[in-house]
């Protein structure tokens, strides 16, 4: 249903700084635009994006309506140990999506 695209290396050296990219399909409706019937389309955005490494939070970003539709975020992380990198998006209307990727650190 929800489409998420994660771009992360599958392997990394210990201590290496790796780039993580995450894209999610979402309208990010601002709540400031009138629709075809002239009424304001209610706000529907993703408010929080959190990334975890084996359950420990490593990055967090709070969005505003000024984030473009289909939010894309690229950030960096230190490869500490093998395991899973988790991504979680939460927002209006009970929106919650989680995705994770495995990484081998050696």
């Amino acid at each position: 249903m929800t489409n998420v695209l994660i771009n992360a290396p599958k392997t990394a050296k210990k201590g290496e700084v790796i780039e993580l990219k995450a894209l999610i399909l979402h309208p990010m409706e601002t709540g400031f635009r009138p629709g075809t019937n002239g009424r304001i389309i209610p706000r529907n955005i993703i408010e929080h994006f959190v990334a975890t490494w084996n359950g420990t939070e490593i990055f967090r970003m709070d969005f505003s309506p000024a984030i473009a539709a289909n939010p894309f975020v690229s950030f960096f992380a230190v490869a500490t140990e093998s395991g899973t990198i988790g991504f979680r998006w939460t927002g209006d209307e009970g929106f919650q999506v989680e995705e994770s990727v495995a990484i081998a650190v050696g």
């Binding site: 700084v17 075809t36 420990t56 967090r60 970003m61 000024a66 984030i67 473009a68 960096f76 500490t80």
Partner: protein
């Protein structure tokens, strides 16, 4: 008390109908107020922060933005938070990001919406409690937040 003539009434309605539809908007003052909320009484210094946006934007609904901060990102000295603000979108916030030494590098790239030509401000907060900023002026030819045509 003057009687309302039909002519005056019609002139009045015409005036009301041409009043521009003006939704609440962030202003440079509103942005300064929000920045003050984040920074408090600390001094904001220029430098260390690099904010990259295309100077001329054809479509305000998807604008690539990259912000990076020079920092060792060690336990002793790292970038704790990066905030992006704008002057003329309906709200002054764009995003607030929280970082830690686990990030290794203070660089974030994303895509934002811009409602008008304006100045974008990035503020970085370090673990030592210092604030650094950078800004970028952009020209937007087609604004985001237009009517939904789908």
């Amino acid at each position: 008390m003057p009687r309302t003539t039909r002519r005056a009434f019609l002139a009045g309605t015409a005036l009301v109908s041409v009043l521009p539809f003006a939704p609440a908007r962030a202003t440079p003052e509103a942005m300064a107020a929000v920045i003050k909320e984040v920074v408090g009484d600390n001094v904001i210094r220029e430098g260390r922060v690099t904010l990259e946006l295309p100077p001329l934007i054809e479509n305000g609904s998807t604008v690539p933005l990259t912000v990076s901060v020079e920092s060792p990102m060690s336990e002793a000295d790292y970038v704790k938070a990066i905030h992006i603000f704008n002057e003329k979108n309906p709200q002054p916030h764009v995003f607030d990001a929280r970082l830690s030494p686990r990030n290794g590098r203070a660089l974030i790239a994303t895509r934002i919406k811009l409602g008008d030509s304006q100045r974008i401000v990035a503020i970085a907060e370090t673990s030592k409690g210092e604030f650094f900023s950078a800004s970028a002026d952009v020209i937007v030819t087609l604004a985001a937040c237009l009517e939904d045509i789908t």
